[in-house]
Symmetry: C2
Subunit: 213 residues, 2 copies
DNA sequence: GTCTATAAACTGATAGAC
DNA sequence: GTCTATCAGTTTATAGAC
């Protein structure tokens, strides 16, 4: 702890670099050079590259789960009325914003790290996510499902992945997508505006009546 | 061409391995060993690893574009009625099935390769996709947009990415997701069944009335 | 806790014999 | 067109001095 927090500097550099180019594409050398620390520091403080990847991930995932849980607690305490899909989705995204704005870079790096964890078969990371994230995920899922009891559970289960895919894919590529929008329409959308487009889309996607069409 | 098509064997092995573990995570040595060809053969036949990646991608993308285009041609020839969103989506997915079933592995590897191209910042691959895919993409997009003229173009543009994300994310992880479904519900869904869940979800997502809610 | 030096293995790519 | 052998560079990780 002589230097202004070596650990913190490594985590900051690693988060930005992993999100930008992927886990395997980022070497420990690039991270330590960017962070202005010695190469050996990573293995000293974290043990291995895999452990560093998980630590980087935790810094986003843990606060998010905590934040979502406490927001759900507060809402359930404030009113006896059941939480409907729309409100649940809104709580989800406001928790995302709330928990990431303290950390560098905001929402996009977190979504990129999440997308990469699924895209590349980072098996170790996937298991790690389920362990740290499982309880919160189940709680949220059950709230949604309680509001749409008529939907077949398996169909509902797949719709959750449709929702996850739409969210992670879009927000993790927010910058490049927004740049194309700027070039093609001359219009930008802030990430908050994109989320406000995403919220109703996801709500209708989840509640889509099977009979309709 | 003395061995039963070295080029083909390299492409098959590379496609399966790239889809399974990612581009950077797959070495040329792993590919050539799996394909039972000499290490030097990749550089002899393709020139470089990047060129191999693009060749692997082309084998899925080119037939798909061709198939989608000819299906749209046939439909436009058969009837003067405008193509509505639901029908366009249905043509999209049947083209996906049609064009991939000839190639090894079917739909999932293609979706994985596509997801990886977006997730990892494979800049060269992204440019390559736009070049080979741009015209077909624009044509399809304009058909959709013509059926929903009241939606703000920028909002529509973002919804296309929501759609792309839901599709690519879910289908590229079809196997692991389906396995969880098996464990949790004791029920499986074939990839065709998942697509038949996806189609109405995507249609409502695209057509979601802004005023609704 | 930080550093240098280095191990041990792997990477994509190529030259040259056959 | 296929092979061996090898180059030159990279990777993660660690031992040991300070």
């Amino acid at each position: 702890m002589s230097q202004p927090d070596t650990i913190e500097r490594i985590l900051d550099a690693a988060a930005a670099l992993f999100a930008e180019r992927g886990y395997s594409e980022t070497s420990l050398r690039t991270i330590t050079t960017t962070a202005n620390v010695n190469l050996a520091a990573v293995n000293y403080h974290f043990g291995s590259k895999k452990a560093l990847i998980q630590a980087v991930f935790s810094r986003y995932l843990a606060p998010f789960c905590e934040c979502l849980n406490s927001n759900l607690d507060a809402r359930e305490k404030a009113s006896d009325q059941a939480i409907h899909v729309d409100e649940a989705i809104q709580i989800l995204f406001s928790s995302l914003f709330q928990s990431t704005e303290a950390i560098g870079g905001g929402l996009e790096p977190f979504m990129r790290l999440l997308g990469l964890a699924y895209a590349q078969s980072q098996e170790h990371l996937r298991h790690f996510i389920i362990e740290e994230y499982g309880d919160t995920y189940r709680r949220f899922m059950e709230i949604l499902q309680a509001d749409m009891p008529d939907v077949d559970p398996v169909a509902f289960y797949w719709r959750l992945y449709f929702m996850l895919g739409a969210t992670v894919f879009t927000l993790s590529s927010y910058n490049p997508i927004n740049n194309i929008s700027k070039a093609d329409f001359g219009e930008e959308r802030s990430i908050k505006e994109v989320v406000s487009l995403l919220e109703p889309s996801i709500s209708t996607l989840l509640r889509a009546d099977d009979a309709e069409r």
